[in-house]
Subunit: 220 residues, 2 copies
């Protein structure tokens, strides 16, 4: 019995609901989402002391960090979605850490400025900073995907799910990706899978910090 | 034949040289370190298109992201340093992603402000922001280590190497960790291993950005 904690429309649980749908296994969904500063129930903190979603419980085994959850599920239940060799497994871990280190925070900042902050102010100068940070890693991934259709090579895998589930915020942000055509084509391919439906229905707002400095600080 | 690219005194290659020393396997060290803006040699970009250190090559298999490298090495060569079950492996990945997402960037900013920036200005107000960001995840890890001596339980493993090799910047930053005594004791235990020697000899400076906004932007 698998339980996923987190509302896919409001938290990164959408990354894991995508993976679970790819696996075609039944799971129970607890649609949690906490507002900033809201106290977390002790029974949830017992599962994840960070008090964050997503959290997954599989037969009593509790796990957090969305991309770690997906890799665990892919290895245990994923067949060809999972890594088939030690090298493939290392590459899945590599690209998962890479997208967290290089892409996630500036991309989330860009998405916040473009569409998630309330009140909106699309003139925020910090958008330029975010786009400048993203250009180098996006160039790297674009070149990789010019040589092969998916991150591990010829087949769609958990590596694509993990990287695309972070990259999908580029669509939320409505960013122009014409400078990275292979990356854009790959992202469209991944996100057009019916199992990725939860990523297309993001529905939350973030209170806009008062100053440019506070905007960047939010995503440090 | 294993080759590690990156100067352990100037890059995150120290995380991987620690792991390689724990494994007691011979490796060749290429002491690369690039200054910001310095062009990267094409033969290095062919190994790692990000042009960053560390990069590891094992019998022709090239891998980047320091914590992914360590997990790969631990699984292939690590014996009890590596994960023994699917659940342990998931927890190593979980804590490696966690320390990158929750700890690395604010901690690096704190270390830069305290000891790495040149010219130094220890009055930088952004230090407060970094410490505020760190307090919550450090509280989580401290509570975890109050219940068990190491991250996976009773034995030292790659999970400790990965998390401690990020956390060691707290020593570089000379931060007061008295509010997190279990975390501090664990970190001292890990870093006092003779194999961790490269982490204690960090030797580089970072040009100090001109404004507080630019300091935060550096670590976004």
């Amino acid at each position: 019995m698998i339980t996923l904690y987190g509302d896919p429309a409001k938290t990164r649980a959408n990354r894991c609901s995508w993976m679970l749908k790819e696996l075609e296994i039944e799971f129970s969904l607890e649609k949690l989402a906490f507002l900033p500063g809201q106290p977390k129930p002790p029974e949830f903190l017992a599962l994840n002391p960070n008090g964050k979603c997503p959290t997954l419980v599989d037969e009593g085994f509790s796990l957090f960090e969305s991309l770690a959850i997906n890799l665990y599920l892919a290895k245990k239940y994923g067949g060809v979605l999972g890594p088939q060799t030690a090298e493939e497994e290392a590459l899945v871990t590599q690209w998962s850490l890479w997208v967290m280190a290089e892409v996630e925070k500036p991309l989330l900042m860009a998405a916040a400025i473009r569409t998630l902050f309330t009140p909106a102010d699309p003139s925020d100068e910090e958008l330029e900073l975010a786009l400048w940070k993203l250009a180098r890693p996006w160039g790297v991934l674009n070149a990789h995907l010019e040589r092969q259709p998916f991150i591990l090579g010829e087949r769609f895998s958990v590596a694509d799910i993990n990287v695309a589930s972070v990259m999908h915020m580029a669509l939320i942000a409505e960013l122009n990706m014409s400078a990275w055509p292979a990356l854009k084509a790959w992202l469209d391919t991944c996100l057009s899978r019916p199992q990725a439906i939860d990523l297309l229905t993001v529905d939350f707002k973030v209170p806009r910090p008062k100053t440019p400095r506070d905007i960047i600080a939010m995503f440090l």
